[in-house]
Amino acid sequence: MSTTARKAGFGSVLWDYLTTVDHKKIAILYLIGGFFFFILGGLEAMLIRIQLIVPDNDFLSAQFYNEVLTMHGTTMIFLAAMPLLFALMNIAVPLQIGARDVAFPFVNSLGFWLFFFGGVMLNVSWFVTGAPDAGWTSYAPLSIFSEGHGVDFYSIGLQIAGFGTLMAGINFIVTIVNMRAPGMTYMRMPLFTWTTLIASVLILFAFPALTVGLFQLTFDRLFGANFFNPELGGNAIIWEHLFWIFGHPEVYILILPAFGVFSEVIPTFAKKRLFGYSSMVFATVLIAFFGFMVWAHHMFTVGLGPIANSIFAVATMAIAVPTGIKIFNWLFTLWGGSIRLTSPMVFALGFIPTFTIGGMTGVMLASAAADYQYHDSYFVVAHFHYVIVGGTVLGIFAGLIYWWPKMFGTLLNEKLNHWFFWLFFIGFHLTFFFQHFLGLMGMPRRYWVFGEGQGLDTFNFISTIGAFLMAVGTIVFVYNMVMTQVKGKKVSGDPWDARTLEWAIPSPPPFYNFKQLPLVRGLDPLWIEKTEGNGKMQPAEPLGDIHMPNNSFVPFVMSLGLFIAGFGVMFQGSYWFLAAIGFGLFFGSMIYRSFKDDLGYHIHKEDLEDEKGDGSNG
């Protein structure tokens, strides 16, 4: 029943990935999907920057610029950053807590395919009546008036991808709550696991607001509802609230896992235990908690009134405190350590000052009165690229390089990684540092052109040059990834001399992860065994049968169903049959799934004994 075909042909490999429920393979799927969309979003960013290289440029048309801008933001946030984070979570979290898989392998796969088809849906818009053009925030009523089907693709595509995200979120919470290895108490969990847990909780409570907002948008546009229609009593502010009730927690969904990555990378390469572990956990929870009470800082200029603005301003500033705790804890983890400047570490070190700047401009934005100047100017663009690129994206790259051996069993070329880092890092600061000033000098964001003689030329020019450097850096990295896989030089289970459980098993791990579940004796379990034991994890259970889930093609079909149904709902009329087919596939798959027992299968003890000893679990 197992589909681990040896030396399989392309067809069977493809089939294997289409049906896989193994978290390690799903991680690779997320990586491929996410990286593809990252390049796409990056290309869109390049179009933006080329358009803005000189004043009054007409490289892109006004309408097309808005489409590119919207798709850049949407793609990067929903289709690049989040999936790449899910790739890291999928590869690392089950291994870090000593589990054989996630709680719901089937749902894990469903989550991926929903994201994938949602992303494809969004991008199909380029070829059908044009892409969404109302900004990634899609403020009504502009989004209601927007012609063509662009915004419909936005609302339906994000809806589908959003379901996937929600499922992935629930899956990780349950996995972490229920499936930790013996001895792995909450306060012994690695920080990446912690931040995954908290980010997933944020997903759980933030995405439903987006779901409702998107439904309202869809219903307004396609079924004549009047949520945001001023003429029949609707109110566009509702959309803004719902979007930001989701949107602000979303940015912490993006940053917390990155914080987690750095909290793994820094201790590993400083060869020191994480400084202030419990305050790190506490800070994470606090950030998440505050994260739900600050959304209106995106709406300071909407006119909510000074009382609301003040409350939200103060609540927003409060987040600086737990974040500061984290920054200083990292610094003091480095303090007294033995720092190795490997490429993941260099990314982590690049992150600290960059994110601090981004966070500081965040606090400046939080000052409500001052935000009347900053809001919707390039100052905000600079702020969020500093935190997103300087935080999330650097975190993703650090994590990707760090866990690359676990995913593929190979090690990326360090030298090229350093080249990548410096090109990307310098390019980044060139691109975005000067945008702070552009904003203060009076350049609003989402501007297709800026005029001559307004003093905005130089900084825009520098910014574009910087973006090119980032692109070159990215190309170096893509080259590195490809070449590493082509060479395919295998590495050991623990190439970084690391501290957590995932490094106790081979790279890449066998499909059942742990032959015997390990016994966890404290924080950084592998480190403990290295310094106090024989360097190997002790088993917590006798060798026994391992229960494994079956592969399934159903997730793919279900997602495809929603994808098809989306078109039916969008085009209506004679296309309703598509909706019928799509929903038929979707609900049909559900019924099929519920009628067919999925009990999984067992790897027998004897077969496990036959497997070559990997030197990990005794």
């Binding site: 610094l331 033995s338 401009t361 000052s367 009347y372 203060l440 000098m441 501007y447 005029g451």
Partner: protein, 410 residues
């Protein structure tokens, strides 16, 4: 409060001024060269926050640089060296919790004060402690232009907003289609205009005469970036003059040249469904009462006849993509368009134009002629559909009185 804020400012002046005033942006657009009450208050707040942030950044960077240099593993270090595994340090952890809290309180207090101060739309009070009359202007955002109605004065303009200096001007703001945001960086922050019945209020107080550039700051469609406007701040006397001149316009005035007269007729036939001259409430398209005095055509294009003709002939299709004039049904020959342009360029009812925003003549005025006693009630009602109600009765009186004043002045 003001006291220690300015002290802080003094300390930081060296660091920040060099940074900020080193020609950052153009004086008519940059938020870093504030020339209005709102922008100055915000600028104070910015400086305060930048000082705090620089402090934090320096602390972080000092530790950061130190650790990296000191604790990097050097070539000749023992690779098996195991550093001490510290769990944490309560004193330190408390320190970096408490200090940021203090810093944030320092920032939060003026933030709240200024947030309330900037939201304050109560009337100004003069030296004797009496409330002064407030000049309310109804601002309407539309794709992709701005409309301004001076409440109670029967004056409408578009694209270029004339205001008196040193006097608070009160804006009551809505949108007639999608959300826009009204931003004049040099004199005030920004405020959204909402289409769904939520009227926003803000104030402008320009401290120097100048033409300030305004921008639309909320994505509103393809020509979002072309939705520029100007705020023309003139001395109160000049402003008073301007209002009176504008009030005199009916739209019936016959221009001198014959071509312009023909243009006027063509304009009436083709354009009046959307455009108004005089205080007509029509705001399908910009009000063109003082179109002859515009510094820019449609907010962004250079103002010259060639461009105006092109605008009329192409209906602004390429000059402002997606603009709503493209739905105008007319067909005109080049010649006709040129005649219209000729006519439009004669529309200059007042001697007070953007050029006057530089000198200080007509300085003395308290604008009292603009606020006859009877009008006080109408101020209360601002907000909802003011232009129809209330003002009608007052018009005639206002005009009469204005005319009297005018003669007085001379």
């Amino acid at each position: 409060m003001k006291g220690w804020m300015s002290k802080l400012k003094a300390i930081s002046a060296l660091i920040v001024l060099s940074l900020v005033l080193s020609g950052c942006g153009e004086p008519f657009l940059s938020a870093l060269q504030p020339k209005g009450e709102g922008s100055e208050m915000i600028f104070d707040l910015m400086i305060l926050s930048i000082v705090i942030m620089l402090f934090v950044f320096v602390v972080v960077m000092v530790i950061y640089t130190f650790v990296i240099i000191k604790y990097r593993r050097k070539k000749d270090d023992d690779p098996n060296f195991i550093p001490k595994q510290t769990e944490g340090n309560h004193a330190l952890e408390t320190l970096w919790t408490v200090i940021p809290i203090i810093l944030l309180i320092i920032l939060a207090v003026p933030t709240i004060q200024y947030t309330f101060a900037l939201a304050d739309t109560s009337p100004e009070v003069n030296e004797e402690g009496e409330e002064e009359d407030s000049l309310w202007i109804n601002v309407t955002g539309a794709q992709y232009w701005w409309h301004f109605e001076y409440e109670g004065l029967e004056v409408s303009t578009s694209q270029e907003l004339y205001i008196p200096t040193d006097r608070k001007v009160y804006l009551s703001m809505t949108s007639q289609d999608v959300i826009h945001s009204f931003w004049v960086p040099t004199i005030a922050g920004k405020m959204d205009v909402n289409p769904t019945g939520n009227t926003n209020e803000m104030t402008l107080l320009a401290k120097e005469e100048d033409v300030y550039w305004g921008k639309c700051a909320e994505l509103c469609g393809p020509s979002h970036s072309l939705m520029d406007f100007k705020v023309v701040a003139v001395s109160p006397g000049e402003f008073e003059q301007w209002v009176q001149d504008m009030q005199g316009v009916t739209g019936e005035e016959v221009p001198e040249s014959a071509t312009a007269q023909e243009g006027q007729q063509l304009f009436a036939d083709n354009c009046m469904t959307c455009h108004a001259i005089g205080a007509d409430p029509n705001k399908m398209g910009p009000n063109l009462t003082n179109f002859g005095d515009r510094t820019k055509l449609a907010g962004v294009e250079d103002y010259n006849k060639k461009n105006i003709v092109e605008w009329i002939q192409t209906k602004g299709k390429d000059m402002k993509p997606g603009n709503l004039m493209t739905s105008a049904p007319y067909e005109l020959s080049d010649e006709e368009a040129s005649k219209i342009a000729e006519y439009l360029m004669t529309l200059s009812p007042s001697d007070i134009t953007t050029e006057n925003a530089e000198d200080g003549v007509y300085k003395d005025s308290d604008l009292s002629s603009l606020f006859p006693e009877e009008e006080e009630e109408t101020e209360e009602e601002n907000g909802e559909n003011t232009e129809e109600q209330g003002n009608e009765e007052n018009t005639e009186q206002t005009n009469e009185e204005n005319n009297e004043e005018q003669t007085d002045d001379q």
